[in-house]
Amino acid sequence: MQASIKKPRRSPLFWAQLAFTLTVCAFLIVPVFMSMTAGVTLNYMTGVSGGLTTQWVEKVLTDYRGPIVLSLELAIACLLCTLLLGIPAAYVLAKRQNAFTRAIEELLVMPVAVPGIATALALIVTYGGLGGFRTSWLFILVGHVLFTLPFMVRSVLAVMSSIDLKTLEEGARSLGANFTQRFFGIILPNCRSGIIAGSLMVVTLSLGEFNMTLLLHTPLTQTLPVGLADTYASLRLEVGSAYTLVFFVIIVPLLIAMQWASNAVSQRKRI
């Protein structure tokens, strides 16, 4: 027991891999960082040394207040719709496993596989004639729900398949619980992690959705990402960058929460 424990020597390969990883990270993170700092500099060309300002951020918050609020409203409405449609759908898919429900499960994913522009065009061709509907934000909502629903269903279904839903329900039934009591008292609480993960995913996707929304929106129903494209296309680069900064402040906490929730789900599964 005299042998001293030597620290393992890192091989040259380790250092090469580390350098490669750091390079890739830098390649991805530096533009983000540049863009965010550009949003608070007086002049993009002179950089941070030229002085800092919040004027661009303020300009974005006043001029693009509408799209920001609309996007948040859309995300919340989209979340409500996917909760109301997705949880019952996942429940039925989990309880009735047959060729038909498996086909439905596959079909639900279609809007993710098909390019957003194609879905948007199909919606316009079909419902574009309904004037009031076409120009309202509900039109965008339909697109967002189509696109995000599979994420909610999958997330909830994954948790439902990992718990013994059938026996839990039979247990509750034997104790006298009717369907409503079982659904709200047993099923929903035990799928909580899946519902939270699905919700964060839906909100994040809805907030960031651009492809489909670009075609579905009207000048009066501009969303956050569409507004972002608009600022870069038509205004000073600093304004666009400030916009990116605002977008980040909204979306990054959601992404972190999503990661946390999905960790909680995978931990649950291991039990």
Binding site: I163, D164, T167, L168, E170, G171, A172, R173, S174, L175, G176, A177, N178, Q181, G185, I186, P189, N190, R192, I271
Partner: protein, 347 residues
């Protein structure tokens, strides 16, 4: 707890065919007395769980079958309105609730007033000796503790009938033994009509007032544990319960004669052989026994020795002997066999 609400259970021409056409249960008639514990015993796929689910109301019998609780026809009443308590092999405890909340659930959904609910939860926890686990989460419990919680939860609403579906199968041997004693005590003190499903004959013998041995969707025999063991109605029951020796030979002078010796027997030789249990063979002093046999192998099992014997009958016999001595392979021994312990079956 009171047992005034106990009911008898009656199955009337109850059959069950699955969606894929499999016949899980042939038309069955069965009456379970109020307060009785009946055990459905059989190999997997024999229809015992199917029958339990019909009694529970988790499944309905095929058209024409009826389920009665006392004078009430409950065939069309689903489990949530039958007022039964059920315990599952996989416990089916609610992970989102504490032990106490699990036990209180049945009372809560039945809208039992809070003070009364509290009282009954405490009573049930005490009966299962788990009062100190009341605030635990389910994932903090061992298997044995989980099944105690499941039992407490099932009895808390004071059901008319208690149904247990292989409640001990998921537990290890030692724990199974302990909890079996506990369940026996619980059933005796509640005096509740109980249906217990198991594939373990030790459990069935220990707990059942009567045992219904099931085979291929039918009840092969129903009777007290002793009747099932001592007087099996058919070869399936004889072979499924315990160990049964079979003796074949020719009948002459009121004896069944085989190479090792003879036993008293009048009447024709039974088609399935004369049967007897390993413990009914007694070692005899040389010259005083019915027959001799050679030891094929001997297994020392602590309190007894299990001998495999060749008496040319023509199958080997199994004997349980309690003598404190060692047995050598090939040794010749002499045995007596009391003719009263012989069982003869035609099928």
């Amino acid at each position: 707890m009171n047992n005034a609400d106990n009911v008898s259970i009656r199955l009337e021409r109850c059959a069950r065919t699955f969606e894929d056409g499999t016949r899980a249960l042939e038309a069955t008639d069965l009456t379970i007395q109020a307060g009785e514990t009946i055990v459905f015993l059989g190999p997997s796929g024999c229809g015992k769980t199917t029958t339990l689910r019909l009694v529970a109301g988790l499944d309905e019998p095929d058209v024409g079958g009826k389920v009665w609780f006392g004078d009430e026809d409950v065939t069309a009443i689903p489990i949530e309105r039958r007022n039964v308590g059920m315990v599952f092999q996989s416990y089916a405890l609610f992970p989102n609730m504490s032990v106490e909340e699990n036990v209180a659930y049945g009372l809560r959904v039945r809208k039992v007033p809070a003070d009364q609910r509290e009282l009954r939860v405490q009573e049930s926890l005490e009966m299962m000796h788990i009062t100190d686990l009341a605030n635990r989460r389910i994932d903090q419990l061992s298997g044995g503790q989980r099944q105690r919680v499941a039992l407490a939860r099932a009895i808390a609403p004071r059901p008319r009938v208690l149904l247990l579906d292989e409640p001990l199968t998921a537990l290890d041997a030692k724990l199974r033994e302990n909890l079996r004693v506990e369940i026996d005590r619980l059933l005796r003190s509640l005096g509740i009509t109980t249906v217990y499903v198991t594939h373990d004959q030790g459990e069935a013998m220990a707990l059942g007032d009567r045992i219904a041995v099931m085979d291929k969707g039918r009840i092969a025999q129903i009777g007290t544990p002793e009747e099932i063991y001592r007087a099996p109605a058919n070869a399936f029951v004889a072979d499924f319960i315990g160990t049964m020796n079979r003796l074949f030979g020719r009948v002459e002078n009121n004896s069944l004669v085989f190479p090792g010796g003879r036993v008293n027997w009048s009447g024709p030789p039974p088609a399935a052989g004369l049967m007897f249990r390993p413990e009914d063979l007694q070692l005899a002093a040389p010259g005083s026994g019915n027959f001799t046999a050679q030891v094929v192998s001997a297994f020392f099992l602590g309190d007894h020795v299990r001998l495999v014997l060749d008496a040319g009958a023509p199958d080997f016999f199994i004997a349980r002997v309690f003598e404190r001595r060692t047995f050598a392979k090939g040794e010749t021994l002499e045995f007596t066999l009391n003719p009263h312990t012989l069982v003869s079956l035609e099928k």
